[in-house]
């Protein structure tokens, strides 16, 4: 087997451009995340203090362990915040470019809609819509291929989980109409 010609080639029609402008830099994200974590630490710490974070006759109260963890989390976030302000050099690094963010959103938004649809229409209908829609709109794949793939995959999942393995998934009006 010594054929060296390239045989497998896959293209990516909607790939992000390389020279897209940056949306946000590492420093900014670092600061925002540190602030969010700090807020979380304060909220959780306060809740545990309320539950009881000291000692009683039997040993530490339920809030003891998590309270001190919140303190550690808060301290580490504060340190992170300070470290970001001190080293402005790192801040120039790009976290995500505009083209990349567009692609990430192209996955995230459909995933979010899929979760929403699962709540009201059931998982199988939602998954059919997600796969067909994503392949057609994001992947620019032929409509019949998208619909067929979505149908086969969804049907296979239904057979595997609900019928063969008895793992029951959320269902909506369509399944109800068929008596499931």
């Amino acid at each position: 087997m010594s054929n060296t010609e390239l045989e497998i080639v896959v293209d990516d029609p909607t790939a992000p451009e390389d020279n897209s402008p940056a949306v946000v830099s590492t420093g900014v994200v670092d600061i925002v995340v540190s602030l969010l974590l700090l807020a979380l630490a304060v909220v959780l710490g306060w809740d545990n203090w309320r539950t009881g974070a000291s000692w009683d006759s039997t040993g530490p109260q339920p809030g003891y362990f998590p309270f001190y963890l919140s303190v550690i989390l808060g301290a580490a976030s504060l340190y992170g915040l300070g470290a970001t302000f001190v080293s402005r050099r790192e801040a120039v690094e790009t976290v995500v470019t505009r083209a990349q963010l567009r692609r990430v959103m192209a996955v995230f938004v459909p995933t979010f809609l899929f979760c929403l649809a699962t709540q009201y229409l059931g998982l199988y209908v939602a998954s059919f819509l997600l796969i067909a829609g994503f392949m057609r709109l994001v992947g620019k794949i032929a409509l019949w291929k998208s619909l067929l793939t979505a149908f086969i995959f969804t049907a296979a999942m239904f057979m595997t989980f609900d019928i063969a393995f008895d793992v029951i998934m959320p269902k909506g009006p369509l399944e109800a109409a068929f008596g499931y």
Partner: protein
């Protein structure tokens, strides 16, 4: 040799058509997951976990561990044929693997990669077979303080020895420990951090978090990249396999060295990634002909692959013997064990002998079956990459959602998964490591219970963690490791101060 008898019994349990079939299915799924960009060992195991919920524990763990072996094998295929490491631990394999493929020696490189993976795993499984029962019988004498000290050691070594910024490791770990505490407190029965929400009463399920953190976030990350690729197609003939195997004894030093490195880094939380690079670098340093590395030398494939697999496999040793996973994927397997009501740790070897030895036997069998399977089916798996990612991505999303929902039959968990997906994406972007988070989340409640039980036992005296040589030694080691970077610097500084004085 009680262990040997039990191992043989384990083989007897496994050698049924049903189990062998499950193994094949697991391996195929695993290789699939390993080959696809944006999915790896931990994600694959997490997503496919729900499939096993209705099986008996032995079949389930056999299938899951085979998914894991499959993913380890699969990572090498894309590294060699496409110069795209399917997994971070296959990066070092591309250094010499891809040049070999360019020179038309793809089949040799693949055979070398699979064979050395097999050897690495085999060494690690042998280690598990002989060491795990010894460690677990030793650990049976542990009380709560000893267990807490061991947990502490695990957490501290992550902070002290990790390569990421220390405060980021601490953030990741304390967040995981905190989230593990959400819900009903197991000791007092009080509610904690639920803020009156009925959904949070159940607590935050470890597997839901993992599916979001690794599955969803990985898809978001993968979409950022240009997904076009071009590479070589290859089939492996028996003649190539035999010729590579004939040369194998020549490289026994490399293989042995990499196995030892891998086993060591797998047991300590160093991980397969570090092991593969270290294996490669050492092979290069000790070679007489350093220049030829990176230009398609077969040793450059042997070294990292052996180390990565030895490490990936031996990460299961502390998980089985002590209930402490040595890697992210091992943590997920541990989460799986808990779903089936098996409590990993030393008692597992006493209470569920059949299960443990069945699992160890499946490691031997899974590797043999896996080697044969990958050698024969490489062309099929390489062509999986022709399937556009736009078709694969939504299917992975659906599988993640099914997985998250199936664990507790809760719609809330699907939303939680999505939330963790975003968290995982952001964390990966700014370099907050996810492995400590995973580990903390799965060990959190047990570490806390151990701490509180030792406090109750001692009447609140912290000296209990230094009450005898064993627990004192572990606790002290933990603290030394926590401050290791500082100590390391201090020693280096001291050395520098002394040397000029002597000169």
């Amino acid at each position: 040799m009680e262990a040997f008898g039990l191992l043989l019994h384990g083989f007897a349990v496994l050698l049924t058509w049903k189990t062998l079939l499950l193994m094949m299915v697991g391996l195929v799924l695993g290789i699939f997951v390993g080959v696809l960009p944006g999915l790896g060992g931990p994600n694959g195991v997490a997503i496919l976990l729900p499939l096993t919920f209705t099986m008996d524990p032995t079949s389930a763990i056999v299938m899951l561990s085979c998914i894991y072996w499959g993913a380890l094998f699969g990572g090498a295929i894309t590294s060699i044929l496409f110069n795209i490491p399917g997994e971070a631990w296959s990066v070092a394999t591309t250094f010499d693997g891809y040049p070999m493929a360019q020179q038309g020696k793809a089949a040799e490189a693949l055979t070398a990669a699979f064979t050395s993976s097999f050897i690495g795993s085999l060494v690690a499984v042998l280690l598990i077979t002989f060491l795990a029962p010894m460690i677990s019988s030793f650990a049976l004498k542990f009380g709560p303080p000893e267990f807490f000290a061991v947990y502490l050691l695990t957490f501290c070594s992550f902070v002290g020895l990790g390569r990421e910024a220390k405060h980021k490791t601490v953030i990741s770990m304390s967040l995981g420990l905190l989230l593990a505490g959400v819900g009903m407190d197991t000791v007092s029965g009080q509610l904690r951090m639920t803020f009156g929400s009925a959904e949070l009463l159940r607590g935050i399920n470890f597997l839901v978090a993992v599916i979001g953190l690794f599955g969803i976030s990985e898809i978001l990350l993968t979409m950022e990249e240009r997904l076009a690729l071009r590479g070589h197609a290859a089939g492996i003939s028996l003649r190539v396999v035999l010729s590579v195997w004939k040369d194998l004894p020549k490289y026994w030093v490399t293989l042995l060295r990499s196995s030892v490195i891998g086993c060591w880094l797998g047991i300590t939380p160093g991980g397969a990634i570090a092991a593969s690079f270290m294996g490669y670098n050492l092979a290069k340093r000790f070679s007489k002909d350093q220049e030829s590395f990176g230009k398609g030398r077969i040793e450059g494939v042997f070294a990292p692959e052996t180390a990565a697999h030895a490490s990936g496999t031996s990460a299961l040793l502390p998980m089985l013997a002590l209930g402490i996973p040595g890697s992210g994927t091992a943590a997920i397997l541990l989460g799986g064990l808990m779903v089936w009501g098996l409590n990993p740790g030393p008692l597992l070897f006493v209470e569920h002998k059949d299960f443990v030895w069945g699992l160890i036997a499946s490691m031997y069998l899974g590797n043999v079956v896996g080697l044969v399977l990958v050698l024969t089916t490489v062309p099929i798996f390489a062509s999986i990459l022709r399937v556009p990612f736009a078709a694969v991505a939504p299917m992975i999303v659906v599988s993640c959602a099914i997985g998250a929902y199936a664990i507790q039959n809760a719609m809330f968990d699907i939303w939680l998964m999505l939330g963790f997906g975003v968290v995982g994406y952001v964390f990966k972007k700014i370099g907050i490591p996810l492995a400590p988070f995973t580990l903390a989340l799965v060990l959190g409640s047990r570490a806390e219970d151990a701490f509180r039980l030792s406090m109750i036992g001692s009447g609140g005296d912290m000296k209990v963690f230094w009450s005898n040589g064993l627990v004192g030694g572990i606790t002290t080691l933990a603290i030394v490791l926590l401050f290791w970077p500082v100590i390391d610097k201090a020693i280096a500084g001291l050395g520098r101060m002394l040397r000029p004085a002597r000169a």
